[in-house]
Symmetry: C2
């Protein structure tokens, strides 16, 4: 016999509506698979009288959070309001009232993760957040549970659909950044103010959450080095293609000598790397560990329906534990590794550089000298054009970020170097 689990909703936007439809449309399947019958009690909204395309009785809507949080029968609170406040206060209240919480709130997790984990653990309740990163892609559970026996070393993610769409149009159709962004806006893949996506803020928040679960260390969005894609040129994309690479906005979290390096920036990745074939608005997260080798999880990173499947998956997980009389979790004690966040200058990567140079005898030796002085080793050099119009394309071996930045400064000071047109990291190759 199915156990009844009463669920309260905080928020009823795109994801909330999709989750409510999913709970209704797939009711029988969900009950058979989970052993639980999910009943929605109250739904907190801003305007209780607005008409909504949601299959629930209108009197469930309320503008009073206590209607959701004070309900004795409510076992699980689904938080889909987004943003930090009032979501944070309400989630903490839910914990203190002994409610489990399922959330899709990326900002909240990426800024107040530690506080939430501790409060959930102190109250013996669950905090589930599969939907907060990469929408419909099962990621949090695989990383925290299926891979609980592994020590991951690196996570590389394409976690922002807008920027991946823009870069795909630049790569596949030869568009400029501006053209590609205009198309993304026209097709609804970009917000009216796209800077949260384009400048990498969205990806940085997701990077913080991924780093937290992959390395058991509470990481906040502010810890993540961040560079957006607005300076990626059609030229960079074309040279990447000629060299066998594809340009992607990557979220990187990796262990370096026990420290944690976390960063979001455009990067070239080899064409045969599994992430290279992640096109359009799709997301994917690639992880590596010494035992499991390489894994990749691919799918829709946003959208009401995909994200709603993650919310319902979390509800099913919580519901099953309620059914089985399970108590408590251990989020805070799990995410208790104390790792230092490595300064960007101390990180390592390979680099691509595009230099506008005067082509005359001795110039290459001068340029190579600037690399050598900084102990940056050149992997390949390629000259395009001649005379005053010469471009030099260079790929380095893995090098220290600080040394590379010093090399770029030294190059700019060289008389035959007219311009350092681009510097981009190369990931997933060496």
């Amino acid at each position: 016999v199915a156990v009844e689990v009463v669920v309260g909703f905080l928020g009823c936007g795109v994801v909330g509506s999709a989750a409510l439809r999913l709970l209704r449309d797939h009711r029988a399947d969900i009950e058979r698979r989970s052993g639980c019958r999910f009943e929605v009690s109250r739904i907190l909204v801003r305007d209780a009288h607005r008409s909504r395309d949601v299959p629930v009785s209108p009197e469930l809507f309320t503008t009073e959070s206590r209607d959701v949080l004070a309900g004795q029968d409510v076992a699980v609170v689904v938080e889909l309001m987004g943003g930090i406040e009032p979501a944070r206060t309400l989630v903490l209240e839910a914990f203190r009232a002994g409610k489990h919480v399922v959330t899709a709130n990326k900002e909240l997790l990426a800024n107040h993760g530690r506080e939430l984990f501790e409060e959930a653990e102190a109250n013996g309740v669950n905090l589930s957040f599969e939907a907060a990163v990469a929408g419909g892609i099962p990621l949090i559970h695989p990383l925290t549970r299926a891979l609980a026996g592994e020590r991951l070393t690196r996570v590389l993610g394409i976690v922002n659909g807008t920027t991946n769409y823009v870069l795909s149009r630049m790569t596949d159709d030869g568009m400029s950044f501006g053209e590609a962004l205009a198309e993304a806006e026209r097709l609804g893949f970009a917000e009216r103010d796209p800077s949260d996506d384009i400048e990498g803020f969205d990806a940085a928040a997701k990077c913080a959450i991924l780093a937290t679960v992959a390395f058991d260390t509470p990481v906040v969005a502010g810890d993540v080095y961040r560079e957006g894609i607005s300076r990626v040129s059609a030229e960079d994309v074309e040279f990447a293609d000629r060299l066998g690479y594809v340009v992607k906005l990557l979220a990187v979290a990796e262990l370096e000598e026990g420290d944690l390096a976390v960063r979001v920036h455009p990067a070239m990745i080899p064409r045969h790397h599994p992430l290279a074939s992640v096109r359009d608005s799709y997301n994917a997260v690639f992880v590596e560990g010494p035992k499991v080798g390489q894994l990749m999880f691919y799918g829709r990173g946003a959208g009401g329906d995909p994200t709603a499947t993650a919310v319902v998956g979390d509800l099913v997980e919580v519901g099953r534990s309620l059914k089985d009389g399970r108590t408590g979790v251990m989020l805070a004690s799990r995410f208790s590794e104390e790792r230092r966040i490595r300064a960007m200058e101390a990180m390592e990567s390979q680099y691509y550089l595009l230099l506008d140079v005067i082509d005359r005898p001795g110039v290459l030796a001068q340029i190579a000298g600037a690399f050598g002085q900084n102990k940056v080793s050149i992997k390949s050099v390629w000259q395009e054009g001649f005379g005053d119009d010469a471009l030099l394309v260079m790929i380095t071996h893995r090098a220290n970020e600080g040394a590379l930045q010093q090399t770029a400064r030294d190059l700019r000071a060289l008389e035959p170097v007219l311009e350092v047109r681009s510097v981009m990291r190369v990931e997933g190759a060496e």
Copy 2:
């Protein structure tokens, strides 16, 4: 405080040794993440005196299964013997003794799944089998739990590393099937008798398990239509490339009008399909559903260490539920959908055909007529060569398998058709 969970092993081969090493080497991490301390009691082996590279005391080895199964303290039995008997009998005994079971045994699941699910449920214990399909790739849990709110429509898998390695060498290096297989054998990617892999038996067993978990219907290996890759020619691979496709051995499970179609065969998939970039001995499983869209899970499908991470992940999952006082599962009642297995003739796909024809006026009309009579619609035709040496390459729209086979028979009877050189399904395009 960590809860002690006593684990008995049945079998200590490559995966078992790797799992024991993982439990020792990552002991502290596993304890922090799971709240459990896993203690290995006894290990059933054929020869208790053989020396093994395993970090456990030699007196743990035993040749008596009752030492593992009758231990009052043993809470979880890890079955890594492989094959059906005696594994089946021992797993059933473990259930009856109230032990949870974690297994990597593909044959057992693919042939006796229903019996195992029922016996586990009757005894209120868990049966976990993440390691039975696609080694280190978290798949069973995401499909059954994270996607519990979704109704999947299709699963396409590259689930056999040997055949994917062979086809990768044919595609990327232009080798013949024989050359590629010889290289796979030399590098240890193929068994001495490779027919289980090459003829698709291994993939068919995995297909049955994937279909079971994706569609809640107990499917056995014998239900799965099966065709291996030994007849895939260098010519097929080359034409696929020219047409924008890649040849892969696919495990397909999909719903067609409420029936379940399950099959393993070589297929052409579009070059931009996420599965197309799964190279060498890697595995990947691609799933589709109306809500979640497209998802793909990629990684190492075999090998001691990757598979051991899945075994330990399952142990952690079981351990956490023990810690939380959880009881019972519901495997049998979950996998209780009664779906008919669709006969191969009733299935639908797109097809590629390679015909050796005499090139003279009116021949194409005759050939097109044979397709039209069988209601198979041609999507594209391409002629290679002239006169007596002409080859005709054709791709159809989605058509009925029976109708396509009849078309092939009709074509063979046409006088200007010298030979139907290849017929191959095309998946993931329309």
